[in-house]
Symmetry: C4
Subunit: 204 residues, 4 copies
């Protein structure tokens, strides 16, 4: 039995939109003493830089994940239950993102920075595995896909996504050695993906 | 008077999507001392296992509840006010889920584990009653349903859902004796449902 | 200039769905000592009764507000900017509801119960004024409405909604004398509305 | 390659709807002592006025931002990746709003009021730059737009939006001198925009 993708996309869009908007709740207002001046407040907000870094990182990665999810779903003509549960795994990852984001926000500027970065990069390692499963569920049977999706687009997507878990595993290892290096590797991957997608769409 | 199900589904999808995404807010970042190391942080995150268990459980149960809700609504051709209020009861249950989840997250690893598990399983007992009412509102009058929904599908659904409150009542009782046993019974029910749905759809 | 109501309804549905789902975040997990037993936990959850009352009240009132909003929008054929801003006022009220709900949850069982109930009923007094403005924006010009909406349906709606602010003003005053009496008057109004809507739809 | 705007609008609507509804979470229930009376509670709620001001301000500015976003998207016929990322920047701004709102809510009534107002106005300076980028992405290539959008509507929009960053920069500077003056300048801009939109639509 097969069903149309309409409500699946609407539900997933809802989860992505909520997860990306909840991120800000993890930044808490600095708690100053009654005598604090305006300068004190702006300095205290400046000290929240790890929160802002974590917020920006997670915002853009959820945005890119949403764009990619969008792309996969655009290929799908009909949707079976394996795809349903693979999509559920991806959403599990998406809803989890605010927690490692909060961990990085809280500990990036402390002596536990490397632990926070390992946890953060490791989360994206698992999410990239979920995307692998989703991609395989989508492309497993040609008849589930729209006719106008060329095979080499799927082949290219497979190559790009095989790359993902490898880089995230590396980033997770690297983060144990240097928090900044691990997170920078993740960020470089996102910029690469954004550029790749941008280019591949310009080319079509 | 009857109305189409479009906005009812959109509203319900919104509530399911938000409830499933709010679950993560109940996991709070461990609060370590300034001198904490990266290892301390990862150990502290590991100690949050009851939160992760509660998160995973509630994530998958809301996902399955959404899939089932989806299925019921797919049968409906027109929608009257009794269905409207029955749907409201189900949504009441869905929006409530983050609270027992937080109770389990906070107390599963403590001496009050059994109380937390009783409250958690008991919540799903009430939700399964709400699903009973929804199912009855949907199937009550044949003319509200789409013509291509076979009667034996409805009969099978009734049998499957009659099962629900019984198992949850049992799980609630069992949880008072052992938290793990009660929650495992709930989980086994969800796996059963996911498999059942998977199978029944493969068969069609 | 006039625009179709599609995105207005989608946006409003989103706000209603989120507001109704956020209510649960205002109930916090009881904070017991390490030696607490399962019985202690269940007793402590029982002591949260004002939170559950507030949650139930606000859940059903938002649900009824959503159904009524739905109904108004069903009448509208085209939508001008006055309707846009009137709708904004109603949404302002809807997003505000979780705050008085939290106030009632926190203070209904204390010596400040009457103050909490006054604030809660007073909020709905203002929301009922916003609904008045929305209803007037919707019905102000016949050409904005669908042709098949009979005039006497609008007349009945006007009578029903004129009633609202009066009863809420009375409930707010009553709450200063007795918290329970004020909140019971609000609840009776909601039951009346739910029944009225149910009946009027059965009759059509 | 170009894609239709459907899911982009649905996702953006979701983010706007969630951001506007999360604002209320930043107002916390006053924490009174056990012996507090109903009058104490109402007085304490009155002392939350900076929270209510911040809530109202941010509610209406997100509503206006949503209406404008809506308007831009109405012009667009097809949507390329530059528009995708420009839209992402705007959403980054929208999701960020609850944080400066909470800062103003917490500090407007204190000696650090000017710092809070500078941060708040400065946030809208950056958001107005994001809207500039979005507007330019939308209008950059005539073939991305619907044919029935007249050129002078675009020209007027450009003039109106060039205005934005200038006024917000001024408001940010002014806020350092007087918190109230800076925030009043922002508010006057919103009223102007709401009136302008209202008028321009009446005229068409």
């Amino acid at each position: 039995m097969e069903k149309e993708t309409g409500r699946l996309e609407a539900f997933s869009d809802g989860v992505f939109a909520i997860a990306i908007t909840l991120l800000i709740l993890e930044i808490s207002v600095p708690n100053l003493q009654a005598a604090a001046t305006s300068t004190d407040l702006l300095v205290a907000i400046g000290h929240l830089w790890p929160s802002f870094v974590a917020f920006l990182f997670s915002f853009f990665v959820i945005l890119i994940m949403w764009i990619n999810h969008h792309e996969f779903m655009r290929w799908v003509r009909v949707c079976d239950y394996q795809l349903f549960f693979a999509n559920g795994l991806v959403l599990l990852g998406v809803t989890f993102v605010p927690f490692p984001t909060a961990v990085v926000a809280r500990y990036l500027g402390t002596g536990a920075a490397r632990g926070a970065a390992v946890f953060y990069c490791g989360t994206f390692f698992f999410i990239s595995l979920a995307y692998q499963i989703l991609l395989r569920s989508v492309t497993r049977r040609r008849r589930l896909l729209r006719d106008d999706i060329p095979d080499d687009l799927l082949a290219r997507a497979h190559r790009a996504y095989n790359f993902g878990p490898l880089v995230y595993a590396l980033a997770t290892g690297l983060a144990w050695w240097s928090a900044i290096a691990g997170m920078a590797l993740c960020a470089s991957l996102w910029i690469l993906w954004a550029r790749f997608r941008y280019r591949s769409f310009e080319a079509m």
